[in-house]
């Protein structure tokens, strides 16, 4: 009768750290390094403005709206001269 071995002998189940060829782990660390360097050089510096920030009345009203209404408002003032 022929004796059979179950399987071929295997090496360690897992390649230990710092061993083996550059596999997934190597790729991962490379990605982390490149990301870190990108973060280092891609910094955006924000400087405080020299002039004080003036809080204007009704800041939510846009200039184009005022320009659109200007003519109508001018006529309204003329036509209601008693209250202007």
């Amino acid at each position: 009768m022929e004796t059979r071995e179950l399987t071929d002998p295997k090496g360690p189940a897992k390649t230990r750290n710092m061993q083996g060829s550059r596999g997934r782990d190597g790729l991962k660390s490379l990605a982390v390094m490149s990301l870190a360097s990108f973060a280092l050089f891609g910094c955006v510096t924000v400087e405080a403005p020299d002039e004080p920030i003036v809080i204007e009345l009704n800041v939510n009203i846009r200039q184009e709206v005022i320009y659109r209404l200007a003519e109508d408002a001018g006529n309204t003032i003329e036509e209601n001269a008693d209250i202007f």
């Binding site: 709206v65 200007a70 109508d72 309204t76 209601n80 008693d82």
Partner: protein, 134 residues
């Protein structure tokens, strides 16, 4: 003979009437004048034009000034409200625009509110207005 004369007269009268109507249309309609008390307070610099399109009391408040200012502002608000609706704008947008125009329309000696909130006396120089004013 008399009939022809009559026709001429009628024609002259009709054309005269038409001319009068045309003249009336050309001449600008006389708008209502300011109330004398309001006009006096305005000329004295006791009331001034605010940036928001309404009238404000410049110095010490008196019941009489408060009455004048409230009366004008209630009427203004009503007009602003109607025009804002007609122009598809908000009441605040329309009022602020009218404020730009009202400050521009002040005459030397009258008071208006500068963008920093202070009361200024209008001179012959252009008034200090909000940067968004046209």
């Amino acid at each position: 003979m008399g009939d022809v004369m009559m026709k001429r007269l009628t024609r002259a009268a009709l054309s005269g009437a038409a001319f009068a109507v045309a003249l009336g249309g050309v001449v600008a309609p006389a708008y209502a004048q300011r109330d004398p008390a309001y006009a006096a307070a305005r000329a004295a610099g006791e009331v001034g034009e605010k940036m928001d399109g309404y009238l404000g009391i410049v110095g010490a408040e008196t019941p009489e000034l408060r009455r004048i200012v409230n009366d004008i502002n209630i009427k203004r608000r009503s007009v602003y409200s109607q025009r804002a609706q007609a122009t598809n704008a908000t009441l605040e947008e329309y009022a602020l625009t009218a404020g730009c125009q009202a400050i521009l329309a002040t005459v030397p000696g009258e008071k208006y509110q500068a963008p920093d909130g202070s009361w200024q006396t209008r001179t012959s120089a252009p008034p200090m207005r909000d940067s968004r004013c046209p």
